[in-house]
């Protein structure tokens, strides 16, 4: 049953979306628990009774040096083995915004055969922080958080969200492996127009999943679209009663029920 799905939300200095992420998971029916990175690094066994680990948004360690780097290196050094073990036994990881940057910089995304030098998340083409709502099209058929073909709406709020890859071959391999999870799209379905693609991401990549479909990272914030009144056009009516962010959390909970 839903209430038995246990989610860990990992916070650290500068993480600031933990409260809404915790609440969104609870709203989706999971039991969520907030854990400090230091606590978890000291006792990775805490992962054993959780199905899902979430790295929420924020500015971990100020995003000093570059977004997600300090947190990511810490995860790579202290937690990558236990986290991989969690995924291997069927668990999943979700990185939102700063959490996505952390997963990429820790080498957990795209993961598998891709090394840390295959993909990164870097400064927006506009060279500044931008807040705006985006439309995304779900490109993958294997992610437990998503349903292929859906078009979903969420806000992006970041300065470093541009996904780039080492070379064209890497991009082709990501595509064919179904690891491009979500793409920014404009009304006409194009992925390369600004501001529909808010940061200049290659191929419109808004989020990536690993080959199992159980590790997902994305720049847009499902944790800011768990209520109808979050949608910027809700006052104009005709907004779905099931907010797209909440649906993502619910899909993952359903996967474990």
């Amino acid at each position: 049953m839903a209430g038995s799905v246990r989610v860990m939300v990992v916070r650290a200095a500068g993480i600031n979306c933990d409260e809404e992420t915790m609440y969104a998971w609870r709203l989706a029916g999971a039991r969520s628990e907030l854990v400090h990175l230091n606590q978890l690094a000291e006792n990775p066994k805490m992962l054993d009774d959780h199905q899902i680990v979430t790295f929420p948004g924020g500015f971990a360690y100020g995003d000093d040096i570059a977004a997600g780097v300090i947190f990511g290196q810490r995860v790579a050094d202290d937690l990558s083995e236990p986290l991989r073990a969690l995924v291997d036994r069927g668990g999943s990881l979700l990185g939102i915004c700063n959490g996505f940057q952390v997963l990429v910089k820790a080498g957990l995304l795209p993961g598998g055969v891709f090394g840390r030098d295959a993909v990164t998340v870097t400064f927006n083409d506009s060279a500044k922080f931008e807040a705006r709502w985006v439309r995304m099209s779900v490109a993958t058929d294997r992610c437990i958080f998503l349903h292929q073909g859906d078009t979903i709406a969420m806000p992006v709020e970041h300065a470093e969200g541009k996904v780039i890859v080492r070379d064209d071959e890497t991009l082709e391999r990501l595509k064919s492996a179904g690891m491009i999870a979500v793409r920014y799209v404009d009304e006409g379905g194009r992925t390369d127009t600004y501001p529909a693609n808010p940061n200049g991401s290659v191929d419109g990549i808004a989020g990536l999943c690993d080959e199992t479909g159980r590790v997902l990272g994305l720049m847009p914030h499902p944790d800011r679209h768990f209520q109808r009144t979050h949608h910027p056009l809700w006052t104009a009516g005709a907004i779905s009663q099931s907010p797209d962010g909440l649906t993502m959390f619910k899909r993952a909970v359903a996967h474990y029920c």
């Binding site: 969104a24 100020g62 990164t120 870097t122």
Partner: protein
Amino acid sequence: MQETQPSCSTYYQVQVSSRSPELDGSGRDVLAEVRQLPISDVEAVHTSKLYFFRGVLSAEAVQTLAALLLCDPVAEVSTFAAGLTYREDARAAVEVHAKPGVMDPVALSTRQAAMRVLRERFPEARIDEVRTARRYVIVGASSAGDLERIAKQVLANSCIQHAFITGFGRNDELPATFVEPPELPFELRRVKLVDLSDAELEKLSREAHLFLSLKEMQAIRDHFADLDRDPTDLELETLAQTWSEHCVHKTLKSEVEYRGDDFGKPGTTTRHYGNLLKDTIAYATRTLDKDWCLSVFEDNAGVIAFDEEYGLAFKVETHNHPSAIEPYGGAATGIGGCIRDIMGCGLGAKPIASTDIFCFAPPDFDRMHLPKDVLHPRRVMKGVVRGVRDYGNRMGIPTVNGAIYFDERYLGNPLVFCGCAGLIPRNRIAKKAQVGDRIVVAGGRTGRDGIHGATFSSAELTDSHADEFSHAVQIGNAIEEKKLLDAQLIARDHETGCLYSAVTDCGAGGLSSAVGEMGASTGANVDLDSVPLKYAGLRYDEIWISEAQERMVFAVPPENLETFLAIFTAEEVEATVIGTFADDKMLTVRYRRETVGMLDMDFLHEGYPRQRRLANWTQKVKKPAPGGLESPGLLTDRLLLELGEYNTASKEWVIRQYDHEVQGRSVIKPLSGPNAGPSDAAVLRPVYDRVGGVVLGCGLCPEFTRFDPYWMAVFAVDEALRNVICVGGDPKRTAILDNFCWGKTDKPEAMGELVRAAQGAADAAIAFGLPFISGKDSLNNEFALDEDEAKRLGVPARIAIPGTLLISAMSIMEDVEKSVSMDLKSAGNALVVGSSPVDRVGLEAACSLHAQVAELIVAGKVKAAHDISDGGLAVAVAEMCIASGLGASLDVDGVNWDDSLFENLPTSYILEMAESDARRAGLPIVGWVEDSGRLVVKIRGRESINASTARLDEAWRTPLAFEGGR
């Protein structure tokens, strides 16, 4: 290179650059600003980051750091070298280093992360210190002079940074070692005071930057004469800080004799105020006596009830003087300080929203007329926006509401208002330090930064202030404050109850003010040796008055100390006991076993002589009579011009750089509709699973001060109220805040302006039922130029800001689902005007219109609402069209409308309603929503405005749409 592990300290550097120019957005940003100067022959700017390490390190260790931490393997490339001065690229460049002692958050984080990375890989390695710098290779510059201009006007601010220039024969020598801040030996200093003459007292006040009046200096002299000793420098500094305009608001609290024009009616009058603030602003609150006001004027912020369980705190601060000198650091620490006011309200509120309101000179101000050492307004604006962005976003507090007002008189004194609202459990509002509680300082370390901020705010700025007061400027470290907040809330909500009995922020005046305030009714003993310092060598008085950021002071009962400190340690926040609250009503400060200060708390807080001021005011410039409705004819160009005015034009470039949705509470965002129209106010849902909402809005109209500050203040209150009503706020549950920013008020005429504004604000507050719950003022916002320079530029030698009153409003709404946004909703609906300009109909009639509109909105009868302000009815409707992409037709014939279409009208709304609801409400229908994508306005049957919404959109959106984020 492959030497064995060195045993003594060495220097290393790592330089990181983008792998390709397309990835160097920061370089493109700098280039855009260089072109503005204008220096047009520069073709490109390439940026790189420099990391400098001092410690016991090997080349391999540094390479490991570069590979794992400093350089992104996909986006960047790096080089590394021993020493600090090697540079691979010999092209013309500017390199920017922070001056010694200036906060460098990146360096702090890098050191911690680097030590962690090296711990297991290189166990012998040690990192003593990290510093960072930025290098800008300027491609296509044509002289060293160009490089210098670029360094000075774009890249570096000399009050906190050093620029090193190389190229065209210039070759600044890079530092080969870290330069340390100067170390000062301990020596207890007494200030000769008791025997001084009046003239000598005035000289001392001026030269020691005390900014105390002669009367105040005399009071201090007499006090110490009674004690039969001279004060120590620390005692004198403490009194100057505590008695500063910034801390006690002595001008607004002075006794005033007013003589001049009557208030809001013809004729003249005289009026006596025993205490101006008490008899106006506070009087309004007392008269209204609302039971939902939970804490007013006595804490760091005002608090009103949200529901049975929670209160909402709200505070707005200014940080004008620091922002004039260093816009980025000034604005960032401004928002940081206001957030700490919320953290220091009661036992601590959780910040849930920020607001920011700025006043600047226009960003296209002619560079040829810029006085020496005044930063160009474009640079000020961009720096301030970046500062608010970087601090607010990192704190995870959404910036949800604001305004920007442009006027050339803000050239030397930009105004930066930072607001913050917080959610507080109602049982965490009361606080009081108890005798025996430990004094704990927590957060960032104390350094020489921000010395004299409180007294600095009493000074007028001059062209030499950038040097003289650069120590008052500081750079914030948001993550330090975020950790402090996390730790504080854990201690506040501990299962055994709150672990401390009082808390306050360490803001203006530093420890001297924080401890002095908290211990006012008890007494306090402080041991300055215990205060953790950023670097050695601070003098005791510097430790005591430093305004180093990100610090809070807690009163912790001894029995809770261990648990309290353990929480802070777990959150990686330094917390240190520096003394004890005593029962002797004395403030006793010790250092190196000597008493360096001992002040009577009563004298400290109540000993300052009250001022008695004369105030006169006679109207000199009459507000022009309403122009009346335009004659039929071509007005489309006029509308396009009005939309492009800086005060009206879209602020999207600013707003989108702020995270306005973090925490997931947003209901009405700062931008409305599919095309990002300007929302009137913001709505948030403070508690996720409850339907109640909080509305934040503001009113600001300094353009009316020159006619009559009384009406200016009434209009500001009226505008703040309209804004919150437009989105669904309840006027019966709305509280307001006042922020007065004025020039010098030493002349009776200037004081008269302040009196009229205070009286206007109070009269409007009482009439509309809006209690003030908190306020703040910033005076002396004047800029003095050198006489010769003023002549050369053809400008007055003294530039005073227009008297500016910001009214911020916080309103409670029963149900956020009743919120309304300003974008038009559907074709066929009627456009309805509600207009009862308060200066024509009086306060009471205006109040009933506010109430009527609020009721219609809550009843769900209003589809879109917008206030009629800058640019009048025409601009208001145009903005509603732009926001939605829809069109509208207006025809004011047959309705009782005889105002100019472009008149900024107080107490006026434009509402979109179903026709039947509009007729039932009895408000005049002036037009219709259409899906034509055009705005068409007829005057007496003749089409006078006809423009596509797309054209209006372009005129409105482009003036302030800057490139990049620098």
